[in-house]
Subunit: 93 residues, 7 copies
């Protein structure tokens, strides 16, 4: 598996119309790319300046990403995105 | 529901000519997009550098947004905007 | 009324040739937009980093604005500008 | 009169070939705009971050400005420039 | 050998389809440049401002780089990349 | 004379092939503008943030300037350059 | 000789295929400019903000430079480069 460094988080985009655990239908504008992703791995939160960033997300959380944020990589057949914590805008409760 | 992270706030744009609780008619230039929105959810105010931002808005407040601020998402059929607290210019009293 | 947040100030542009309280004729270059405005409301001065900005203007003050500063909104029929305190260059005494 | 805010200074450009108090002829390149101005009013020196800037110029000083610095306004028939103290490069002694 | 200065790391890009020690096939999008590299040398972590950066990678680690990060050099026949630690996004575990 | 403010230095470009006190011929690329100048006046070194910059140059020093640095002014018939101390790269010993 | 100021270093580019003291052939991509240089002089390391930068290079060191870094000058017939310490990526050991 991949371990994100510092204040980074590894996420996987969710398919549209995918049902959340709580039964909520998450759907973004049909003509736009979905911005909802699931958290796979969370970094240790120690930022570049040595300060601890409080990472308020955990594995499995569904989150809304800043559009165009992060770096997309293909790893073991899956397309993953590595984002900075600050590019996570909100958590689906 | 969505929980905004850090110093972010989730708002919903108000229709023009919508009457506020206090009976005030809020209307922006008819040829421009309304910049008045209603606060739905407020983050915990802990910014990216770990410092606490004093979030002087609360659920239900009507606020004036910085134009073009924030990220628009569609969530459960509603169009929401996630903005930084610093993109909220004023509160309707 | 609108309450400006943080280190913001709400002002209203003055018409050219408008007489100030003290009888001074304020006029800017006739071919340019007037840059003199009247202060309507002053924020609490607590900036985004939590530090207190000393807001040396008060309601009724006539001020010179940085050109193109601020966000123009129409509120209850009046065109107002919400500016950062740092975009106020000088006060008419 | 106008009172500059914070670390700002109000100056007035000097005509070329104008004689200084000390009898020195100040002249800039004839094909360029003069960059020498006279200080009319000095702000209190408290910058945007609340720190005191040591303003080493006083009313009447002749100063060299950073080219294109400041905001030009017309006030009571006179063309004035409001500059940041940091845009004053040197003082004529 | 080359010793990277400060918070820099020297890495070597891995060929696609290269097998990791743990038997994992690392492969990035076939139409894009691989972003997985192996760490050869790690700087002492003292950044430009004198603060110690906690360098959570070590010689031999396989890492995901920020695309386009770093400076490519040819040294003793090998193509190496010198990157800032902050351009390493994740470590393959 | 002109007194530079803050961390600024007033210099005068040297003609090419000019002999230094120590008898060294200073010459820059014949097809480029000389980058060697002589220090005329040094500011008090108190920067914009109130911190003291250690100005390691003195009147008469020959210095190498950052190309395109500073503001050129004509003062009493002489072409002078006002540069920030940080635009002085080296001193000729 | 030239004395670099602050956190600057004076270097001289090495010819390709030049043999290092240790017998290593340093060669960069034949179609690109060599990025390996020799250190001639090191500044005192006191940066613009008054903080001491730990300069981990010394006279005679062979170093890898950030491409396009620094200012090239011709001094006493030799082409020298004045770079910031932070533009030195690595040292040849």
């Amino acid at each position: 598996m991949l371990k994100p460094l510092a204040d980074r988080v590894i996420v996987k985009m969710l398919e549209k119309e995918e049902t959340t655990k709580s039964g909520i239908i998450l759907s973004s504008k049909s003509e736009e790319k979905s911005q909802i992703a699931q958290v796979l791995k969370v970094g240790n939160g120690i930022g570049e300046d040595g300060k601890k960033v409080d990472m308020c997300v955990k594995e499995g959380d569904k989150v809304v990403l800043n559009q165009y944020a992060g770096t997309t990589i293909k790893y073991e057949g899956e397309e993953l995105i590595i984002v900075k914590y600050s590019d996570i805008l909100a958590v689906v409760e």
